[in-house]
Amino acid sequence: MSAVWRAARAAVHRRKLQTFVIGLVVLLCTATGVVSLALLDAVSAPFDRAFEAQRGAQVVATYDPARVSDDQLIGASTGLTAIAGPFPQVVIEPAGDAGSFLGGRPLTVAGRADPGGAVDQLDLWHGRWPSGPGEIVLAAEPHPDDYDLGPFADTTTVTAGRVTLRVVGWAFSISGSADGWVTPAQAAALHPTATQMLYRFAGDVATRDALKARVAGVATGLPGGALLSAQPYLVLKEKAAAQPGTYLPFLATFGVLGLLVAVIIVGNVVSGAVVSGLRHIGVLKAIGFTPRQVVAVYLTMVGVPAVAGAVLGTLLGANAAQPMLVSTFRGLGFGQEAGTRAWVWAAGLIGVPMIVLLAALLPARRAHRLSAAEVISAGSAPRRGHGLRVQRALSATRLPRSVSLGLGLPFARPGRTALTLATLVLGVTTVTFAVGLSDSVVRITGLGDQAAGQIGVRAYNTDERATTTRTDAQVEELLRGMPGTARIATYLNQSVSVVGSSEPILVNFGRGEVAAMGYEAQLLEGHWIDGPDQVVAPSQLLNRRGLRVGDQLTVVLGGGRRAITVVGETMSGAPGPVGLFADWQLLDQLDPGRKLIPFEYRYQVQVTEGTDLDGYAAAVRAADPGLYSWNDAGDSSFAVVVTSFAGVVSVLLAVVTALGVLNTVALTVHDRRRDLGMLKSIGMTPRQVVAMMVTSVAALGVAGGLAGIPLGMVAHRFIVPLAARAAAIRLPGEVLRVWRPGLLALLVLSGVLIAVLGALLPARAAARVSIAQVLHNE
């Protein structure tokens, strides 16, 4: 074995550049692959991971305490693997001044002695668990870093009726089992109306029907009508998947492209290293190495830099993926769970070296079969085929000879050329897709930004804990008088009941210049509101509620009842939760004389071009300390994540592709050292040598560009609408019409640029080839 190791070490030492290239290519390809795999894995798994970590409840069931006792509920355990409860449950309605976090919504409160248990182990991410009466922990997604900045710090008490509960902590339930928790004694004091049970089942829980059957199994033997509701975890899982679902098509596309490029380049680099060493293999055989030993030498020679590259690449990829994972999934409540899992590490550390060894083994096996004499002559055997005819045809053209010689080089080694071309095609496909995607996302954001306005204003200052003394009309007048104000709209965000549906619908009652804020401009279908009984709906809401333009609804609020018609569909909704657009007149007709509560409504202000947004927001706060205003522009984390991810991955893949080209040119230079020496001896200048070598791959760059651009465009055309469907929105056509002739020309150049950048280094090395060495020392 020592002879093999010694020979391999000598080969590595002798081929420093090639060893370096193999190591670097494997490193970058591994990093790309690990990032791709980690993101693909994370997209499909974060909910499941967090759900298992918190022992989430597969069903949150509530029972009528008047019909079933706690002992009966504890005894009903058919098909269960874990159970928690019974917990007394009550719905309370906090008083209107409870703060912006609660916003007047009713809260489901459960009585639990502790946050742990066999099911639904809560993540108590701030404060402590209630230890006595008068204390409550509220439910919210974890924001430990932003606690002091968010609305949490302002929400210190919850008053419902005559009871005031002090907020002592914040917790997150992946099961969504309650909006707040108190001690069981406090819950009893609140007169619970239901008993909560949390279940985990044995067997299939993948579908709603399966869960329904299992709940029925548990309820067998309990009094009829005891079961009030059973909320399956699939509802939360689908909701949680909605945002990553938007990313999934992008991540999957980049992931697949990254893996393909990585595998092809590693294969090309490694097999090229073995093929270019065939003569050396013959020499080893001639001096007594057995075929197995020769193969071992080559696998070791390639394996050393490959393993080093795979280890470093896995570390680099895992580190690069981490911030992307966290930023992608922050806000879903399980960002802290995002991490690169063991199988992804294994794929990088074991899978990549295996691919490398496989790529090396195929040509090495050929060397294993051939006799020493055949292997030695393998590199110098006369070439036949199309390559010769192409070279001959090119020599008759009017092109400068260095250029025509360069154009003919790819035909000399068709296999190597095919692999290099494949990587260039994939590289250009990636760049094209990334450019188109970024442009589309910027357009979507542009539409959204225009619609969202640049400044948000509330009549309740959470920082100062003060409310303005101005009426809503006076606030509007104040804002209209501020320098820089262009348009103002006022919204009241209110849930209204829908006749025939158990689920209320959210409506943004607006007045002022709502249509001019950009919403009318992004209408996908129908027309803007021109009467009090008309509403316009964002696509996401239409899809979710199964509505279409032209449908009628009867809504009820505060005793009033009106039939409304959906007259238009927009791409996005007003700031905040997705709701229907309606005119303020509808609110007046439904609930005349309604008293406005300050944190119920907000103002949307669009400023004139060039206005300092932060300065405007500060000026509003200074004009009335009871107003809270903020810069609402640039709230496009989706766009930032997608464009930065697209940028990072495409640059990474472009670099890897350029390295693949570098390797190809380096191998060509190595194979053609004698020819290069001869050409220089008859007067080819260093510049001509560089031109020849660069031309040899620039042509491939053009071909890669011409083939890669349509592929990238097809991917863009297919993937962006797919992502939009995942996000339940429709896109205006202009979002997809991103391709301009100038941009396409630049994209063709991107293929050439990648190829030229990759070729420059070895081309310059070729220009420095010592004629004396290569021609005299045969």
Binding site: G387, R398, M678, I682, P686
Partner: protein
């Protein structure tokens, strides 16, 4: 034609050339001989502008090669030097005609005129019928004739030959010797580096013998 003055070249601590001074006049045919490692190839490299001296000057065809840039040297070789090598160094991808034409095309000549001149040269060397044959299918002697034609393509002032018969059988070697002799007799200046005394005596009018990097003897030769 060639003037070397005190040329010194070292590889590590070994002096390949140690103060060599030499002159070659237009129309001369000079053979350089000596044992392996005596500095023959290094001397040829200096004259061809393939290597630079550590000390001394190299002047060829009135130009100082030791002070030229790489590009300047390439252009100088293109226009004023022809080189023949032991192993021919033809491009395997091109047939004989295009191998020869290549030297002119690098100077910017169009394919048509370059091929016409190449064909003339191949005709003069007696292998015009082999013009479309690739190097791999040519005999050793034929390959060396193609190499000679390529070297003559740009009408060089000086033809450098490095062991031109070293890879040939005796018959092919004889043919190449005749060819070089003919070239010299029509005025081509020749510098031949060789181990082959027959080649030296057949083609050269002067013999320069090197030993340990120095000129140990110069003598006029009677051609056989």
């Amino acid at each position: 034609m060639v003037r070397l003055d005190g040329v010194r070249k070292e590889y590590g601590e070994t002096a390949a050339l140690d103060g060599v001074s030499l002159e070659i006049y237009p129309g001369e045919a000079v053979a350089v001989m000596g044992p392996s490692g005596c500095g023959k190839s290094t001397l040829l490299n200096m004259i061809a502008g393939l290597d630079r001296p550590a000390a001394g000057t190299v002047e060829v065809h009135g130009e100082r090669l030791d002070t030229m840039t790489e590009t300047g040297l390439a252009l100088f070789r293109r226009h004023h030097l022809g080189m023949i090598f032991q192993f021919f160094n033809l491009l395997d991808d091109l047939p004989a005609l295009d191998n020869v034409a290549l030297a002119a095309q690098l100077t910017g000549s169009k394919a048509g005129p370059a091929r016409k001149r190449a064909l003339e040269l191949l005709g003069e060397l007696g292998i015009a019928d082999r013009r479309n044959v690739y190097p791999a299918a040519l005999s050793g002697g034929e390959r060396q004739r193609v190499a000679v034609a390529r070297a003559l393509m740009n009408r060089p002032a000086l033809l450098l030959a490095d062991e031109p018969t070293g890879a040939l059988d005796s018959k092919a070697g004889e043919q190449v010797m005749d060819l070089l002799l003919d070239l010299n007799q029509i005025g081509q200046t020749l510098l031949i580096v060789t181990h082959d005394e027959r080649l030296a005596h057949r083609c050269a009018s002067r013999l320069v013998e090197l030993g340990d990097g120095t000129v140990v003897r110069e003598s006029a030769l009677e051609r056989l």
